[in-house]
Symmetry: C2
Amino acid sequence: MAGYVSEAVIKRLPGYYRHLRELEAAGVVQISSADLGRRMELTASQIRQDINCFGGFGRQGYGYNVSDLKGHIGEILGIDKKHAMIIIGAGNVGNAVATYPSFFKEGFETIAVFDKDPRKVGMKTGTLTIMDISEMEAFLQANPADIAVLAVPAPDAQDMMERVCALNVNAIWNFAPTDLKPEADTIVVNVHLSDSLQILSYKMAHRDE
Amino acid sequence: MAGYVSEAVIKRLPGYYRHLRELEAAGVVQISSADLGRRMELTASQIRQDINCFGGFGRQGYGYNVSDLKGHIGEILGIDKKHAMIIIGAGNVGNAVATYPSFFKEGFETIAVFDKDPRKVGMKTGTLTIMDISEMEAFLQANPADIAVLAVPAPDAQDMMERVCALNVNAIWNFAPTDLKPEADTIVVNVHLSDSLQILSYKMAHRDE
């Protein structure tokens, strides 16, 4: 597929996908690197360099076909395939993930939600019934999952990661406000909400510098 | 305060704060750059360089006082001050932000939640009653806010940002899956959940490269 892709380019991939999806929805068929750059606040040459990185696309002077490029970037992102997710923790964050409309459209299907609180077990989140965390191992043996979403308090997160990894769920989307210590073959991507809010606070405090 | 701080160092600041808070809670008084580096997966020299950036702290061979450094980084982040937030959109994401326990502890107080859906208006989220979006302007004139959290669908986000900016709320924490076009004096920090999940998918697809 593509050659070596740097971490900075990887981080820009979802932005490309998002903008191309918006352009496609708006009926745009073709776009130049200059126009795509203006939308994404990147230079035309940066856009061309990134897209070359993905395996070369478009022809000098013709720009890019929006649908083709979106499809190609979707493949690189691996979102042309289906992913089965379980969610651990049925608090507000877990519920938000379970019912977020666009994940399903992008092939991420939540197949189970677990919680340790007996008051939540048996309740619905979206179309799913919340299961007791003690049922997780048996469930995963019968229903393999690719991704575990950790929406539990920080002190529970490491233990939960280890439990799902023992059942071959080696990709973790972590919302717990702590840094996990994964095994070498486990992939962790964090959504640290407090960190993001603190960055906003930093930028407010240093606005006039 | 501190000298020039690069974007990369800014992004690490919340991580420092989080680890120092965990260390403080565990009763650790003093920590060396080597030990802090091991925790944060940075080299000791990287840690020393970062902390010098914040204005120089600790003495060679003595390490850092955990509480002092945490307090100092909290000041740099601006989280030693209170912030008043409004949340626009009382769906699952808006509710998760409204009730996320640690934001309040870090000085971010949600003072109002708005929605345009009449079925949600009047309902509770945490201790707050959801207000109609048409009441937002009058509310903000009487109750100034620092931060607006956008938890609305993508097509509504730009318009909502412009409405709050007109009332001097110039810091936006954006959960809508779109890139806003802010005025020059408006700060936007995005939480693009789909982007984060796609990065996880990318890493899964390219695990063995």
